[in-house]
């Protein structure tokens, strides 16, 4: 028991700090990648290659004056950044980030809390984050902030469904919601991205919307809403929203890596998942997990600096008219396919089943791309049948 408490406390401390440092570096990465994509250099003055820029930004935010609007609801105004910040950090707790670490006192699983409810917990907690945004929008007593908050809640609800549904595909295949079990299944055979390609794409798009990133950053939409829900915030309160946004990104990327790309699994070898745990294995798998997460984080940034923002009706149309029917249809097809392969043919999850489902996904993907390519995602301001 003491061992569990001590090791958990150490893990919480380390993971919290890693995420904070990661978020700080991510803000720098965002700015530098953005600059590179625009043929600029970006911030490179503070420290070597600008590595200390986030520290300078943080210091600036600490020292800035904290403004509070006269007509704002003080309690909620203060509460909102906290409500936004805490769930963003809580969600990472159930994601396994490396192979178990052997110590003198016993083997430590490299996950803060290996909850049996796994990503149901993530879905539950991450949707709490929207309260922070809505409260911020409401308590600021500012029209723009309120509009931002309203948009955020509508967007979160719309895309939460597609996000949740796309993870149903993972449940169907893995038969388990515990993330360590999901990873173990992927280690035995193929990563779930092959048998569940379409689910991954839907998950990716919904995750962009859930984390309020471009092309779905309508709650912020600086062009139309100044800065949306955090218009009235300054200093460290603003910084907390900022950190929450980026740590949501980290969690979403880590979750994508876990659910669809094998988590901390090193591809093409079973060295990492079999045999005795060792320090080398832990470090190697940690590096691989970090790399996978980084790839998704980079994609987030890449997408942000490429795509323009959706109009509000386009956002809703994409969520309700494209993604939701699509994911429902996909789950139905997938359930039938899994039933057929598992019950009729009697296969367990292995390379054979993965490739069969992968083939099905490829066909679906081609049909989907062909169908979506007919001008269905972005349309005029009036639905085509009504025009």
């Amino acid at each position: 028991m003491t061992f569990f408490l001590v090791s958990s406390a150490i893990k919480v401390f380390v993971v919290f700090n890693l995420i904070m440092v990661g978020v700080a570096l991510l803000t720098l990465l965002e700015r530098r990648v953005c600059a590179w994509m625009q043929d600029r250099l970006g911030p490179n003055r503070v420290g070597p290659q600008g590595i200390l820029q986030p520290a300078a930004d943080g210091l600036k935010n600490f020292l800035k004056e904290e403004t509070s609007p006269a007509m704002a609801d003080k309690t909620l105004f203060t509460l909102a950044p906290i409500v936004s910040f805490v769930p963003a950090l809580l969600t990472f707790g159930v994601i396994p980030f490396a192979a178990p670490l052997p110590t003198r006192w016993g083997v430590v699983p490299m996950v803060v809390a290996d909850l049996p409810v796994g990503f149901l917990y993530i879905l539950a907690i991450s949707s709490l984050g929207v309260y922070g945004i809505v409260l911020a929008g409401w308590s600021s007593n500012n029209k723009y902030a309120l509009l931002g908050g309203l948009r955020a809640s509508a967007q979160m609800i719309s895309y939460e469904i597609a996000l949740g549904m796309s993870t149903v595909a993972v449940i169907l295949l893995a038969g388990n919601v515990t993330l360590s079990q999901v990873i173990a299944q992927q280690q035995q055979a193929l990563w779930f991205v092959i048998p569940l390609t379409v689910a991954f794409l839907i998950f990716f798009i919904s995750a962009l919307a859930e984390t309020n990133r471009l092309p779905f950053d309508l709650p912020e939409a600086e062009g139309e809403l100044i800065a949306g829900y955090h218009t009235e915030y300054s200093s460290m309160k603003f910084s907390m929203f900022y950190i929450a946004e980026y740590s949501n990104m980290v969690t979403a990327s880590a979750l994508m890596a876990t659910l669809f790309f094998g988590g901390w699994d090193i591809p093409f070898t079973s060295w990492d998942s079999t045999g005795d745990p060792s320090l080398v294995k832990t470090l190697a798998t940690l590096a691989v997990f970090g790399l996978k997460t980084f790839v998704f984080l980079f994609t987030y940034i890449w997408v942000r600096w490429t795509l323009p923002r959706f109009r509000y009706d386009q956002l809703m149309a994409l969520g309700w008219k494209v993604l939701l029917p699509l994911v429902l249809l996909y789950i139905t097809l997938l359930a039938v396919a899994i039933w057929f392969v598992r019950i009729r043919l009697g296969w367990d999850y292995g390379p054979g089943m993965a490739w069969v489902l992968g083939g099905l996904n490829l066909v679906l993907l081609i049909v989907l791309a062909w169908w979506l390519d007919r001008g269905r995602i972005v349309s005029g301001s009036v639905p085509q049948e009504a025009a």
Partner: protein, 168 residues
């Protein structure tokens, strides 16, 4: 529907969001690896694409003769022509009858950097310079006296030459 908007029928190539997205992603990624256009100012002051023009009219410089004295003969043409009235000149005369400036001051805050003083100067003494880094800690440091003007070392402007209007 409250307002009818005419939706143009366009070929699929133009309305495809998927293709446009992929194309855009490829474009931004290719830019990621291209050479950057930023000039790192304090370290780099000119690049192969950009240098300060030799006709740049910056803060002044007074040229000197072999003895190190200012070439100025205090003829009074530059304060006369100066549209901003920023040159203060008090002429003096030595025993041999040579005129020289007792006081020669240019208020760089008033100066509009038209370069007329250089153009009008018969002795080619006062010049506008190819120079732009002039920061100081107090305002009165921007009134350049004769000593300061002669001490400047930056290159002088070539101004616009009517016989070579394009600067070739």
């Amino acid at each position: 529907m409250p307002i009818g908007v005419k939706v143009m029928k366009r070929p699929i190539k133009q309305t495809s969001y998927l293709r446009a997205t992929l194309k855009g992603m490829a474009l931004t990624f290719s830019h990621l690896l291209r050479p950057k256009v930023t000039m790192q100012y304090p370290e780099e002051k000119s690049s192969k694409d950009w240098t300060l023009s030799s006709r740049w009219r910056g803060t002044h410089r007074m040229l000197t003769d072999e003895q190190g004295r200012a070439k100025c003969v205090a003829c009074g043409l530059c304060p006369q022509i100066c549209p901003a009235n920023c040159i203060k000149l008090v002429p003096g005369e030595d025993e041999e009858g040579n005129r020289y400036p007792l006081i020669y001051e240019i208020d760089e805050f008033r100066c509009i950097f038209c370069g007329y003083c250089q153009e009008v100067c018969p002795e080619e003494a006062i010049h506008v310079g190819v120079h732009y880094e002039n920061s100081e800690y107090s305002r009165d440091r921007f009134v350049y006296d004769l000593e300061r003007l002669t001490a400047q070392t930056h290159p002088v402007s070539t101004l616009w030459d009517p016989s070579d209007p394009k600067g070739e």
